[in-house]
Amino acid sequence: MKYLILGASAAGLSAAETIRRQDHRGELTVVSGDHYIYSRCLLPDVLAGRRDAGAARFVPKDFMELRGIRWIGGVKAEKLWPGEKAVVTDTGEKFYYDKLLIATGASSFLPPVENIDRGRQVYGLRSLEDVQAITEASGNCPGALVMGGGLVGVDTAAALNEKGLAVAIVEAAGQMLPLQLDRRAASRYEELLKAHGIKIITGAMVSSILLDEGQNVTGARLNDGRVVPCGLVVCAAGVRPNLSFLEGTAVEIGRGVRVNQYQETSLTDIYAAGDVCESLETFTGQFSPTPIWPLAVRQGQVAGTNMAGGHRKMTNNFAYKNSMSFYGLNTISYGLPEAPDDSYQTYIEEGMGSYKKVIVKNGCLKGAIFQGDITRAGVIGALIRENFPAKTPGGSLFDLSYAHFFSQREDGQFVYDKTFSTEF
């Protein structure tokens, strides 16, 4: 059996590991655009100088060798030939497969802003090469502008600030981290960012990037007319899946490669996992991208199992969870950050430097934010994911621990028993 995996990040490598556990003999090849293996989530740490590039690796050095995996780095898939069961790369090589996994990930989305594709110092933060380019550009740079105040944007801004650059973040919404946090939780980060000298601009968008004759970035003009001087721009305005090599094929594509619960694409023997795919997301019940690390790993494991002849279904495809830590303030959030209407109840507990909030509808938890003290947040996360009825007086929701749901299998594994009614 010939397995071909495109991509060497969370989804690709977890699939490779899973395949090898089930099939000791099959020929296993991983081809990735990346020259090195590293965790994208650690790039801000590398940029800030908190961690060496080498320590951004998330698998042991001998990962490939131990598993007899042929790894070809720095090579991009250029065209898929499903009829021939082959992938052609940008080096002109042709790789044949019996089972193919598309785990090519996603790239920074460049919003439609004037000059964004012409400016010489416009970057994303998706690769070690990006880190290197930003580091070089920041050498004699008066300041940096980060487009987007989401997790990547704030992480990047803090890293650039730590390097000594003057940094501004521009976020279209009225607050930082609008997808993850409510106003109250976001405001504590905004205060911390400001205290460290980072300029925060909310409710505005960059309308054009200002360039000199040499196409060097000199600033950005906002849609309200303001001009922010800067020498480099980092785009942190979301990602788009890397699937141009699928053009002209019958692989079904929505906002990513469409997969079913077995991580199968619309074509036989072709699977997809991680940021490149769209799947049935648990919280919304809709097909959507699920661009978080834990799900990329899980989807990779499911795809790997099924590629090696197993039969495993993706469960708990719950993408509405976030964790963050900026300037020593920790936050974990799940589900909705705000109650959408009056049919939801919101409970808040504050004190000892912590802010906790849960959102309930019809006795079920629909959202939660834990800021400061994040211990045991996972229990609330599990209740939201499982849509578990927790008919309890609002305030005491914060006291819930697994002791309230304690139930173990005969092998001692904890479980959430759905037949168990939690009225207390």
């Binding site: 042991p60 964790s323 830590s325 947040a377 996972g378 996360g381 002791a403 904890f414 939690t422």
Partner: protein
């Protein structure tokens, strides 16, 4: 594979297990020398009250298919295929708290003021978990030879703690 089995009905809520855990993971592993005023002194196990106000001793299950390991983006958490222990490498940890977020049972806590986590290591260097040795009632016992996926047919063997 080894696991700490829990019989909440036997728990007296004495928290001896928590003190034992604290001591074992402090610089001088003695109950007398634990610095309780140090914010870093945090046991890796929990005794929590359930809805009826009864204590339940809880600790990491070292799950067969651990959510925390799947969530770990730095490679700091790994499951040993031989011992089954879910181990944590503080050198590699980025303090992203995705494991805290992902453990459905709330068994991982962030370390105090550092980029590292507080999580049961089953006292791998010790032979048997100190919490189990410290339990006077048999509410927690070490069981080894756990069959995968909870196969009822295979017998399990109690190797530590008080047999009931």
């Amino acid at each position: 594979m080894r696991r700490i089995f829990i019989r909440p009905e036997l728990c007296a809520g004495c928290k001896n297990c928590q003190v034992a855990c604290l001591a074992e993971h402090s610089p001088a592993p003695s109950v007398w020398l634990v610095n309780l005023s140090d914010r870093g002194s945090r046991p890796r196990n929990f005794v929590e009250l359930n809805a009826a106000g009864r204590p339940v001793p809880l600790s990491c299950r070292h799950c067969e298919d651990p959510e925390c390991v799947a969530a770990c983006m730095s490679g700091a958490l790994s499951k040993d295929p031989l011992t089954g222990v879910v181990a944590h490498d503080p050198e590699q940890c980025a303090g992203c708290w995705m494991c805290v977020m992902s453990c459905p049972f709330g068994m991982i806590a962030p370390g105090a003021g550092e980029k590292s986590i507080v999580k049961c290591d089953l006292c791998v260097d010790r032979g048997s978990p100190r919490c189990v040795e410290a339990c006077p009632t048999g509410a927690i016992t070490l069981v080894k030879g756990i069959p995968p996926q909870g196969n009822k047919e295979q017998a399990i063997q109690v190797v530590g703690g008080v047999k009931q």
